[in-house]
Every structure is written in structure tokens, then in C-alpha cells.
Symmetry: C2
Subunit: 159 residues, 2 copies
């Protein structure tokens, strides 16, 4: 399974590099037709199927083309015989955004299946944590609060 963990790590690193250079074929190379992605923006029920998954990327590529990064910082692979999962932290934002909020990271979880001796990504979950707005520190807990933007992936949101 050490070999599987290495194969999966390489797969994720190649996928992230494809994302960063805006290479759609590379982004989709190891993804299952039935992928379910929980993306940073809605829909709440997730992005379902590889065609819908494909559709989420062009706005993100545009945002990156204007200077944003998408770099794996840490990656942790748990590889079984036929199923695996990965959690990772990524630097994802414009230089200005990361300068203003140096600790900001994109959290990424992947679920993979082995099919005919090949690993495929069947699930992705991307998120930024919610950060309370400073002006909000005296708000009642039950109150609906305004939150800080994560300051990343704006280009990803559907417009």
C-alpha cells in the first residue's frame, strides 16, 4: 500500500499542477464520471457528475491567470486496498490576499476508488473556514452574523 500511497500523492500533485496551469484535460484525467464535489461556493447539494465538475473550473482558471496561486502545502494519504482518502492544505489566493491573511489555507479532502488497477477521484470537498468579522465580537450567539470572506477563489464562484 506504500506504492498506492505514492501513486495517489503523485496523482494529486499532478492534478494540482494541472489546475494551476489551467490544463482542463489534466484536471479531468483521473476523475470518475460520477464524481461528487462539495465546492467552495454553492450549490448546497454539491456538483454532481464530471461534466458539472468540468464547468466549475474556467472561472477559477481566469482568476489564476490574474496572479492567484493553488499550491499544495501539506498532503496526507490513507490508501487501502481498493479505496483511499486524502486530506491536504493549499495556499490559494492572490499575493495580496495571502499577504493580508498569511495563515489562510484551502482545506481539501479527496475520496478515491481503485478501478482496474487505476486510482480515480470520486469525491472532492473544498472549503475555507468561516472567520468571524471583527465588528461582530459583541454579537449574541444566536444572531445571524456577517463573516469575513476567505479572500480566495473569488473567481471560482458562479457569476
Amino acid at each position: 500500500m506504500a506504492d498506492d500511497a505514492e501513486r495517489i500523492r503523485a496523482l494529486v500533485e499532478q492534478w494540482a499542477a494541472a489546475v494551476h496551469r489551467g490544463d482542463m484535460d489534466g484536471v479531468l484525467a483521473d476523475h470518475a464520471d460520477d464524481i461528487v464535489m462539495f465546492d467552495v461556493p454553492p450549490p448546497y447539494q454539491g456538483v454532481r457528475g464530471v461534466q458539472a465538475y468540468r464547468g466549475t473550473w474556467p472561472p477559477f482558471f481566469d482568476w489564476q491567470a490574474r496572479g492567484a496561486c493553488f499550491e499544495i502545502e501539506t498532503i496526507d494519504v490513507t490508501a487501502g486496498t481498493d479505496v483511499a482518502f486524502v486530506h491536504a492544505l493549499l495556499r490559494c489566493g492572490t499575493p495580496q490576499q495571502l499577504a493580508e491573511n498569511p495563515e489562510m489555507r484551502l482545506r481539501l479532502t479527496l475520496g478515491l476508488r481503485k478501478e482496474q488497477d487505476r486510482w480515480v477521484v470520486a469525491h472532492e470537498h473544498h472549503s475555507f473556514p468561516y472567520v468571524d468579522a471583527p465588528e461582530d465580537t459583541t454579537a449574541d450567539e444566536d444572531e445571524v452574523r456577517a463573516l469575513h470572506a476567505p479572500r480566495g477563489r473569488e473567481g471560482r464562484r458562479p457569476t
Copy 2:
């Protein structure tokens, strides 16, 4: 593996029920010592280790005690021989929050390992999607934006 999928589904349903009744022993019953949780709020690098994981729950239990729900709506289990992952959508909020935003769902991904014929949760990723604020529709894409609160799990945030 059908049996494993059923066992994991039952594990997750029992865990969610324990969360909802504020039963800490039940919440921790099937969790690995080295769990890594990406929670709704920061820290960006995740909550690491079962003691830190335990510490995230009391504020959430308090919030639920005031009327919030934590109910699995859909659950999808991919169980291998020795590793599994789960993605699920949950209704999570106060009745008022869910009335104002009926489509709001908590997205949940779990990673599990089989240890001595027993499944344990080694990873959790909880998030709400980011939703643009209505007043934000004319903002430049590169601008740091204010976003809507997810209107759920306020009690979970560290204070």
C-alpha cells in the same frame, strides 16, 4: 463490502444522533486518536488529535440545546476492504435559520480505516459553502468581498 457499507452507515447515523443529543462518549466512540478534522471555523490547519476534536463539541452542544438541529439528509458510503469514505448532507441550523434559507446544508466528508475488524473515523471535513452577499453583486472580482453567514453552527465557533 455491502456489510461494511451498512456498518459504516450505522456508525455515522449513531454518531450524528450522539451529536444531536449532546452525548460526548457517543460522539467519540468510533474516532481514531489521530483524527484530523477540518471544522466549520478555523484553525486553518485543522483540529488535530481526539482531545482537540473533543474540545470542539461543547459549544455546539450548547447551541443545539437552544433549538438547532443536526440531521442527516443524504449519506453516500464508499467502503473498501480496509479504507472507506463517506459524503453526506445535513440539515444544521435553528428553525429560524432554516426557514430563512431552506436550501442551506452542512457538507460533511468522513475518512475511515478498518482496525482489528472495526471501522474508525480518522478524518472529518465539515463546511458550509460561501454565498455572496446580495449587496456584493457589483463588486469587482478581485475585491475582497463580504459574504453571507451560513447561518448555522454559530455555537461551534471558539469564543
